[in-house]
């Protein structure tokens, strides 16, 4: 037993790979068999991650979720800013510029609004919950954009871990709502053609939310929605910690 603990402690990052791999595997099984693909496996995995962080926090009384358990300290490295930025930047590699031009003006408009509107809403709600510093407000506003933009912004600005956790949870909740809710409102919002699917992708943002929601509505619309949604995270990571933060800071004055 002691030998095992020593091994796990010495190979923190490898342990984290194994643990996260198991979480992902279980999540995709849950997605397939319990929600019949309606809720994307990645959203379930992130929810499980947040739940484990809660358990870890309660058990150790620490502030770093699972990473406070000595055997799982590697989770901190795997989920830390260094590897996270590295992996997120890599996703830009799949962006096809020729396809982007196809989305055109209406896609760009949807992307812009899809970043700005949730951000404003998030900031206003965070304000009404008593947050008054520009870093927390910007991070929570960014969380309402997507669950990636929130923590990337929070880490760039040096936000509190609890605030970052809130921003992730907000983004994940949004993604799940999009996945589950889209089929029900599809008719109402005119979601039956490629153009409106591209508008939808740009506005809703989260790739997992958009592809899950569109797949449940009309499978043929998925590539159009995903096309604009892929730009969402990049745009959010660019403007939220920069322009949006400066505007919030200027408005609040601290």
């Amino acid at each position: 037993m002691e030998a095992l603990a020593k091994l796990l402690n010495a190979n923190g990052l490898i342990v984290a790979f194994a643990v996260v791999g198991l979480i992902m595997w279980a999540s995709y099984l849950i997605s397939k068999h319990l929600t019949f693909g309606r809720i994307h496996g990645s959203a379930i995995a992130i929810l499980i991650g947040l739940a484990l962080a809660f358990v870890g926090g309660v058990q150790t009384g620490g502030q770093k979720g699972m990473a406070d358990l000595p055997m799982l300290a590697g989770m901190g490295l795997m989920g830390g800013a260094m590897l996270r930025d590295f992996a997120i930047v890599a996703t830009a590699f799949e962006v096809d510029v020729a396809l982007a031009k196809k989305a055109g003006l209406v896609g760009a408009l949807a992307l812009g609004l899809g970043t700005l509107l949730p951000f404003i809403l998030g900031v206003v709600i965070a304000w009404s919950f008593g947050y008054r510093d520009s870093i927390s407000l910007t991070t929570l506003g960014a969380g309402a954009v997507t669950y990636i933009v929130g923590p990337v912004t929070g880490a760039a600005l040096g936000a509190d871990s609890a605030v970052i956790a809130l921003s992730i949870a907000t983004g994940v909740f949004k993604a799940v709502l999009v996945m589950v809710g889209t089929p029900f409102v599809a008719k109402l919002i005119g979601l039956d053609n490629p153009r409106s699917a591209m508008v939808f992708g740009g506005l809703m943002g989260t790739v997992s939310g958009v592809s899950g929601g569109l797949a449940a509505t009309d499978r043929r619309l998925v590539p159009y929605g995903a096309l604009t949604a892929t730009f969402h995270t990049g745009l959010g990571c660019l403007v939220a910690p920069s322009i949006f933060y400066l505007v919030v800071k200027a408005l609040i004055g601290n």
Binding site: F17, S42, G56, G79, D85, V97, I125, A169, N193, S196
Partner: protein
């Protein structure tokens, strides 16, 4: 080489974050300003440049895509290491902000979808494509028939 892709990604990430830091200093904020976004733009530009100059290779692509495919697992690890206990104490902010953002965006989709000409629905597109295929097949058959009769004459 796979490592060349990983290296390209590393260079773009470092350069993007450095530029983000410089931008932060220039703007007088103690933060990294859009570093990840800048790095993404650098990577897209880098890819275009590599393809144009013929230096793009399968191995290079593999090196970058490996990390791109690890992005969700890394986000899961990040979620598992946040101070969720403190966040839960903050209460219903998550529910209100999440629901509000989704409702707001649904409404905006409805609004923008109604601006400008109504696009063809997927059913209309498939019906039109089926008709076009049919017309093309008929034209080919006619051409073949003409060809045959020309031969016969």
């Amino acid at each position: 080489m796979t490592i060349s892709g990983v290296a390209l990604l590393a260079i773009c990430t470092l350069l993007g974050n450095y530029l983000g830091d410089l931008l932060g200093i220039a703007l007088g904020v103690k933060a990294n300003v859009g570093g990840v976004g800048i790095a993404m733009i650098l990577l897209i530009a880098g890819r275009i440049w590599l393809v144009k100059s013929g230096l793009f290779s399968e191995g290079l692509k593999k090196g970058v895509e490996l990390w791109g495919s690890l992005y969700i697992p890394i986000v899961v690890a990040m979620a598992a290491t946040q101070n969720v206990v403190a966040a839960v104490k903050a209460g219903p902010l998550v529910l209100i902000a999440g629901t509000g953002a989704v409702v707001l965006c649904f409404c905006t989709v409805a609004l923008i979808s109604r601006i400008g000409p109504h696009g063809e629905t997927m059913d209309e597109i498939e019906a039109r494509e089926a008709l076009e295929r049919e017309a093309l097949r008929e034209a080919e058959e006619r051409a073949a028939a003409v060809h045959l009769s020309a031969k016969g004459a």
